[in-house]
């Protein structure tokens, strides 16, 4: 997970020393050069490694190319790749469906559960360190590793689940079950992460708000929904965006299981299997990639708007 946004300042955060607005510091000579370098070098890296490829992906999606040979072997075919993706590519709609299922599942179960856990752990329990550690542990493991560890539970012949339930289901191999099995494993990680984000946010909520609500006679539940939740709006949005991005980007865990086939198709795996290896359907894969980009950019824009609004206030 490399997309962790931070929890932005809750509105009632401690006062930040205000810089004198509008004081434009004059920068001269060598300072100018340094500043320029400090900005330009990282920007070149990020633009060159992230944004340019993104644009190139979009451009390539209008082409047919095997990747063998130079740029002169590219044939431009307009929107034919998209037409093919939407009409004749059998794994596409299942993959889309799986991504949506991933999103809904991730949201309904681990996200809400994570929030619930955060609320519980905010109750000042003894040994809260232990609980936090326990829930947060899966977050530091890579999803690929998680797929491996849960193999011990899901394996048909040697897994714990079948031993306990006395069934013979191949949890990872049966397309009826494997998506759900994988989602459980992914949720195991996701819940802890959401819990932590939310817990931090909760700790940042001004206690006076809650005291006021208590004095007014509100129950805990009422307090949470009417007072705390609205104040946590920025965090709620972040949690939502993070969940969406994770659902869209899901890849690692299904790739180690079966390279995204037989019930575990995801848009991310479709792009990858069309491109690496001998398949090398560059244009077609780019069309799939562009679809991913478009969907994510929608959500990223929401995220940026929320976060930047916070920035603008500083």
């Amino acid at each position: 997970m490399s997309d962790l946004p931070t929890v932005p300042a809750a509105p009632a955060a401690a006062a930040v020393p205000r810089r004198r607005r509008g004081s434009r510091v004059r920068v001269t000579g060598t300072d100018r050069i340094f500043l320029a370098l400090m900005v330009i070098v990282p920007t070149v890296l990020v633009v060159g490694w992230v944004w340019l490829p993104a644009i190139a992906s979009v451009v390539l999606s209008f082409a047919r190319w095997t990747g063998v040979g130079g740029l002169d072997t590219i044939q431009w075919i307009g929107t034919e790749n998209y037409k093919n993706v939407f009409t004749i590519y059998p794994p596409f709609y299942p993959a889309l469906r799986h991504n949506v299922i991933w999103l809904v599942f991730l949201f309904v179960l681990p996200t809400l559960f994570g929030i619930f856990l955060a609320v519980l752990l905010d109750r000042e329990l003894r040994g809260t360190r232990f609980y936090q550690t326990a829930f947060f542990l899966p977050v530091v493991l890579s999803l690929a590793l998680i797929g491996f560890i849960w193999q011990l539970i899901y394996s048909r012949d040697q897994g714990l689940l079948n031993a306990v339930l006395h069934t013979q289901i191949d949890w990872y191999g049966d397309s009826k079950w494997n998506l759900w099995a994988v989602l459980v494993a992914a949720s195991w990680k996701h819940a802890g992460y959401i819990m932590l984000l939310y817990l931090a946010g909760l700790k940042g909520v001004d206690p006076s708000l809650r005291e006021a609500a208590a004095v007014d006679g509100a129950s805990q539940v009422r307090t949470f929904f009417s007072v705390v939740l609205p104040v946590m709006r920025p965090i709620n949005i972040i949690v939502l965006v993070v969940t969406v991005i994770e659902a869209l980007r899901a890849f690692d865990i299904v790739w180690v299981i079966n390279k995204g086939t037989n019930g575990l198709e995801l848009i991310g795996t479709l792009v990858t299997s069309n491109v690496i290896g001998e398949a090398s359907r560059i244009g077609f894969g780019s069309a799939l990639a562009t679809i991913m980009l478009v969907i994510s950019l929608g959500f990223i824009t929401i995220f940026l708007a929320t976060v930047m609004r916070g920035e603008g206030q500083r």
């Binding site: 590519y89 191999g173 049966d174 037989n262 290896g277 001998e278 090398s280 359907r281």
Partner: protein, 446 residues
Amino acid sequence: MSRPRSESEYLARLRPPSVAATGISRRGFLKGTLGAGAAVSLSSLLAACGGGDDGGGGGGSTSQEVTLGSNQSDAVPKKAYADMMAASGLTVKVNTVDHENFQENINNYLQGNPDDVFTWFAGYRMRFFAAQGLAGDISDVYGGLSGFSDAFKQASTGDDGKQYFVPLTTYPWALFYRKSLWQERGYEPPKTLDELVTLSKQMQKDGLTPIAFADKDGWPAMGTFDQLNLRINGYQFHVDLMAGKKAWDSPEVKKVFDTWKGLLPYHQKDALGREWQEAAQSLLKKESGMYLLGMFVGQQFPKGKEQDDLDFFAFPEIDPSIGTGAIEAPIDGFMMAAKPKNEEGSKALLKYLGTAKAEDIALKADPTVIGASSEADTSAYTGLQQKAVEFIGSAESIAQFLDRDTRPDFASTVMLPGIQTFLKNPNDIDGLTKSLESQKKSIFTS
């Protein structure tokens, strides 16, 4: 497959130590043969020649080093390759890459900095690279080689009539079974489709799974498709279909799927969750009657009594006018890079590799393949290998396997999931074939 109940059973499931000890790879069988082992140890073992190139340009000489890119990363075959190279009389530096990676990255490899000579397969894949100008013309080497039948020469020839490939080993796809089990139950190898069905029904009554089956990795089932297509529509139709010249929603292809659907009840269930090694184990344990696979199925059988118990027969005839003359026998061998650093040395190496002597050394480690040359020493061959020699030698036409005979992007992104879809739902053949055809049209345009 259940958990092995004893240590011996567990050990039996491991590959026999004489053959690959580790690294069951999805593609392991396609190379079938021997290999030059795990990347690290071998490269360091043989890297006495040091890095850097020896003489720029295409000249070079036989006294300079020749580099070889090898995908044979399994432990034991790697040693055989090392021995083979050592006996060549040339200085050969072998660079080994894990077999799956080697294949996946072949595009990059050939366009980047390939070794002078590299392992590859015959068939469309070979012709594809030759046509792209990524492989060197070795017709002159070929002219000096003997012992390759016309079928092998044909498999080594590119679209322009020149040769680009030197065969090393090959192995047949057929229906494998355990002689002892069949003798015990009084089964006879079926000669026609009807006999196969009757036999399967009998096996079911006797409590066996008639035909073992596994398609988790997606490619094994292609073998079944190929056999059925070769029998129902003949070799030429199969080749044309692979080349994109025939329609996938034609009645001929639909007939293939229909026939397959009729046979599915006799195949092992839940194939999509099973890997071929597991299916081979069921054959070993006498839980299945037969298994349609390449001869590498023997790698799962312990050396000795069990391996000797293995036998095979050709896929039965379906259409009497077509008969059983067409078989599937993938050929592994070598190609030369388009611009090798040491061209003379490369050609000398290839000439050596095309001899029976080289093959003999390679075959010492892996008894589940046979040498491609008719001059290979068959005296040390097991019964299975002898039978394979005769089987391949007497074949009228040889196909390479679906994913070697057609465009790789078509094979991996269309056929692989397509066949898996068929196995999950064999009833919608019309829908499936229509989808395959429209996807094929979108890929085969160039």
